[in-house]
C-alpha cells in the first residue's frame, strides 16, 4: 500500500508537470464536445438542386416553390436540358436534378398522372439517399394536394387511405444532438483513457526508467496499479466534465440513474485501461503504441454504433461489435441519458464489460514480465 502511494504521488507529479498533456486531457474533450455535435449533424440540409422545367406552367412552378420552401434544398438554377444539368452534377455543384416534362400540367389534369425524372448524385451516399427521399416525399405531398383540390370532398373521403403519424419516444423532436452528444462523450472518454494509459507505460520503456524500476523491490501489481489508478481518476474527471458540458450547452441531463451510469463507466475505464496496458506490453516505443491504438480506435469508433446502427451491420460485423467495448458504452449512455434506464436495464452491458475488464487486465498482467 505504501509503495502504491509513492507511485501515485510520482505519477500525478509527472502528469501535472506536463502542461501539454494536462491541456489535452481537460481542454480538448470539452472543446470537441462543444464543436463536434454541431458539425456531426445527421440532418441533411443544403442539398443542391438543379431544375429542368420543360413545362413552365403554374403547376410546375408550384411544385418547384414547394420544394424550395421545404428548406432542405438549395436551388442551383434552371436549365434548358438535362444534359446541361448533368454538367453541374459532374462538376459536383448539384446533388439532384429534377426534370419536369413538357405537358406536365396538361397530362396531370387530363389523364390524372404524370412521370417526373430525378437524377441523384450518389457520390455522397447519405446526401443522395436522404435527398432523394425528401424530394419524393415533397412530390408525394404535392400530388395529394392536387387530388384534394380536384376531387369533390365527399367522393374523396370514400377512398381508403392509410395515414401514418409517428411519435418519437424518448426524443420527441428527433433532436439529433440528444443521441450524438452522449455518443461523442463515450468516444472522447475512450480516446483519452486508451491513449494515455498505453503511451504512458510505453514511455517508461522507451526512456529506460522501467529498467531502474525493475531492479527495485516494486512488485508487478504495484507498478500496474500505480499506472491504472491515476488514469482511472482522470477518466472520471473527463467524463464528469463532459456530462457538465452536455448539460450546460445542450441541456441534456441524464433521465435515468446517474449512479448506474457512473457505475458502468468505472468498470468501463478498468477495461479500457487494461486494453491500454495490454498494448503497452506488446510495444517498445510510443510510436508503435500510438499506431496500434489508432488502429483499434478507428475500429472501435466506426463499429461502435455511434454513426451507424449496429443492427444494420452484416452478421460478421455484429459479431465484431459484440467484442467492441465502445459499443456497450455508447448504448448504455443513450439508455441512461435518453431512455432513463437504471441498474436493471444495463446489467447485461455491465456483465459484458466486467468480462472485458477481467480478461484484458489479466492478459496484460500475464504479458508484463519483469525478467525475460
Amino acid at each position: 500500500m505504501r509503495t502504491i502511494r509513492f507511485l501515485l504521488q510520482k505519477e500525478f507529479r509527472q502528469i501535472f508537470r506536463n502542461r501539454a498533456i494536462l491541456m489535452l486531457i481537460l481542454v480538448m474533450p470539452v472543446m470537441q464536445l462543444i464543436i463536434l455535435p454541431f458539425a456531426a449533424d445527421y440532418e441533411i440540409k443544403n442539398i443542391n438542386l438543379s431544375v429542368v422545367d420543360h413545362d413552365h406552367s403554374p403547376y410546375s412552378r408550384l411544385l418547384i416553390s414547394e420544394i424550395t420552401a421545404s428548406g432542405y434544398f438549395k436551388l442551383q438554377g434552371y436549365h434548358t436540358s438535362v444534359k446541361a444539368a448533368y454538367g453541374l452534377i459532374e462538376e459536383g455543384r448539384a446533388d439532384l436534378v429534377l426534370e419536369i416534362p413538357r405537358g406536365f400540367e396538361r397530362n396531370l389534369i387530363r389523364e390524372g398522372e404524370q412521370t417526373l425524372f430525378i437524377a441523384i448524385n450518389a457520390i455522397n451516399g447519405t446526401k443522395a439517399g436522404l435527398g432523394g427521399a425528401y424530394l419524393t416525399e415533397i412530390i408525394g405531398n404535392y400530388s395529394r394536394d392536387i387530388r384534394v383540390a380536384q376531387v369533390e370532398p365527399m367522393r374523396f373521403s370514400t377512398l381508403p387511405t392509410v395515414e401514418v403519424i409517428p411519435s418519437n419516444r424518448f426524443n420527441p423532436m428527433l433532436n439529433y444532438q440528444y443521441f450524438m452528444v452522449p455518443g461523442i462523450l463515450a468516444i472522447l472518454l475512450t480516446m483519452v483513457g486508451g491513449f494515455l494509459s498505453a503511451l504512458n507505460i510505453v514511455k517508461e520503456k522507451e526512456v529506460g526508467t522501467i529498467e531502474q524500476i525493475n531492479v527495485t523491490p516494486i512488485r508487478k501489481h504495484h507498478f500496474i496499479l500505480g499506472k491504472l489508478i491515476p488514469f482511472w481518476i482522470l477518466g472520471n474527471v473527463v467524463f464528469t466534465l463532459g456530462l457538465l458540458v452536455s448539460w450546460l450547452i445542450y441541456g441534456i441531463f441524464p433521465q435515468g440513474s446517474i449512479a448506474a451510469m457512473y457505475g458502468f463507466v468505472w468498470v468501463y475505464l478498468l477495461a479500457l485501461l487494461g486494453f491500454g496496458l495490454l498494448v503497452s506490453t506488446y510495444t517498445d516505443t510510443q510510436q508503435q503504441a500510438m499506431f496500434i491504438m489508432f488502429f483499434f480506435m478507428m475500429v472501435f469508433i466506426l463499429m461502435g454504433g455511434l454513426f451507424t446502427p449496429i443492427d444494420s451491420m452484416p452478421g460478421w460485423a455484429q459479431v465484431i461489435s459484440a467484442f467492441n467495448p465502445v459499443s456497450y458504452l455508447v448504448e448504455v449512455m443513450r439508455m441512461v441519458i435518453l431512455k432513463g434506464s437504471g441498474w436493471k436495464a444495463i446489467l447485461p452491458h455491465l456483465g459484458a464489460i466486467s468480462g472485458f475488464a477481467v480478461i484484458l487486465n489479466g492478459w496484460a498482467v500475464w504479458n508484463y514480465r519483469k525478467t525475460n
Binding site: Q14, R17, Q212, P217, K370, T371
Partner: protein, 323 residues
C-alpha cells in the same frame, strides 16, 4: 545478512574473502542464438572489491550486468549475487543491489530531489537514513536539487543516478559505463567516489570502455566478443605482458608508421598519443631498440627517439587481441 554468514561459514573460512558475485559458465545469445553476446563467462568478485569489466563497445558488458541485476535471464550457466541465485533469489537480490544502467534511466521530468526521494521510498528507506553514503556526491548536486533531472549535464546526471542507486545502502553496486559521455574532470570525480564507496565496504562492479580507468580497479576482467580474455589485478595484467614495448618518436610521424609497417618482417606498432608503441616481438634481433633506430635512420628520419616503456592496460589489451 544470513546469506553472507552461510556464504562465509559454509564454503569458506572467515579468513578467506567472501564471494559477493559469482558467475559460472554464463552464456547469453540474442535473436535465437544468432548473436552471441556472452559466451561461457566465469568470474568471481569478492566482497569489498572494486572490480572492473573492461572492453570495447559490444563486448557483452551490459548483458553481464543485466544478468546480474536480474533483468535478463542467461541461456545457460549460474550466477549468484550476495549469495542468492539470480533466477530463484531475484527478489532478495533486488533489495540488496544498486544498479545504474548504461543509459540514464531516472525520471527526467522529476527534480533531482524528487528522484532521490522516490527511489529511497520504493526501497522502504529515507534519504536521511543513508545520507552518509551519498553525502559526497549530493553536496555537488545540492545547488541543482530543484532542477529537473532531464536538464542536468551529463556528469551531473551520472552523479544523480549513482545517488539513486546508493540510497538504499546496497551491498553490491553494479555500474554500467558510468563514465561514458562524461567530461574528464567528472570522470575523475566519479572514480574517486567509487574508491570512497569501496572504503565503506560496498562491493563495486563497474564497466568501462576506457582502458586508462582500469588501473584504479582492484581487479579487472578484459572482455572482448563476449569472452573473458584475462582476469587479474591491473599490475598483474601488465606484468604478464610478453616481451618489451617501445615508444618510438621521430620528426615525421606518419612516415615512421609507414616505414615500420613496410619493414620486412613488419614491426607491430600503433599510434599512442604522440608516440608509436612498437612491440619487441616484431623485431628480428634481440636488441629491438637498436634495430628500430637503425631501420628509422636508414629511412632518413631525424630526431629519432626509441625508449622501452611499461605497457599500459590498453597495450596489454591490444596485445591480447592480436595474439
Amino acid at each position: 545478512m544470513d546469506c553472507l554468514k552461510s556464504a562465509c561459514t559454509g564454503k569458506f573460512g572467515f579468513e578467506t574473502a567472501i564471494e559477493m558475485v559469482t558467475l559460472s559458465n554464463i552464456t547469453k545469445t540474442y535473436n535465437k542464438g544468432v548473436v552471441k553476446a556472452v559466451t561461457d563467462v566465469s568470474f568471481t568478485v569478492e566482497a569489498g572489491e572494486l572490480f572492473g569489466l573492461i572492453g570495447p563497445d559490444g563486448a557483452g558488458k551490459s548483458s553481464i550486468f543485466r544478468i546480474l541485476a536480474t533483468l535478463l535471464r542467461a541461456d545457460s550457466g549460474q550466477a549468484t549475487v550476495a549469495g542468492y541465485d539470480v533466477v530463484s533469489g531475484y527478489r532478495h537480490i533486488r533489495n540488496q543491489v544498486g544498479y545504474m544502467p548504461g543509459r540514464f534511466s531516472l525520471y527526467q521530468d522529476l527534480t533531482v530531489e524528487e528522484n532521490i526521494r522516490f527511489f529511497a521510498t520504493v526501497f522502504n528507506t529515507t534519504v536521511a537514513k543513508n545520507y552518509h553514503l551519498i553525502e559526497d556526491i549530493y553536496v555537488q548536486l545540492e545547488p541543482f536539487k530543484k532542477r529537473r533531472a532531464g536538464k542536468l549535464s551529463g556528469g551531473m546526471k551520472q552523479k544523480l543516478a549513482l545517488c539513486c542507486a546508493l540510497i538504499h545502502k546496497p551491498t553490491v553496486l553494479f555500474l554500467d559505463e558510468p563514465t561514458t559521455g562524461v567530461d574528464p574532470v567528472s570522470r575523475k570525480e566519479l572514480w574517486e567516489i567509487l574508491r570512497q564507496l569501496k572504503k565503506q565496504g560496498i562491493t563495486v562492479v563497474v564497466s568501462t570502455p576506457y582502458m586508462d580507468e582500469a588501473a584504479i580497479c582492484d581487479r579487472i576482467a578484459l572482455i572482448q566478443h563476449g569472452k573473458i580474455l584475462s582476469i587479474d589485478s591491473p599490475e598483474g595484467i601488465i606484468s604478464t605482458y610478453p616481451g618489451v614495448l617501445y615508444a618510438v618518436k621521430a620528426a615525421d610521424m606518419p612516415r615512421v608508421n609507414q616505414v615500420l609497417a613496410t619493414h620486412e618482417p613488419p614491426f607491430t606498432g600503433y599510434i599512442f598519443g604522440e608516440y608509436i608503441h612498437v612491440d619487441s616481438q616484431g623485431a628480428a634481433s634481440r636488441d629491438a631498440a637498436t634495430d628500430l633506430r637503425n631501420v628509422l635512420t636508414k629511412a632518413g628520419l631525424r630526431d629519432i627517439e626509441v625508449k622501452p616503456i611499461t605497457p599500459t592496460i590498453e597495450d596489454c589489451f591490444i596485445k591480447m587481441l592480436t595474439t
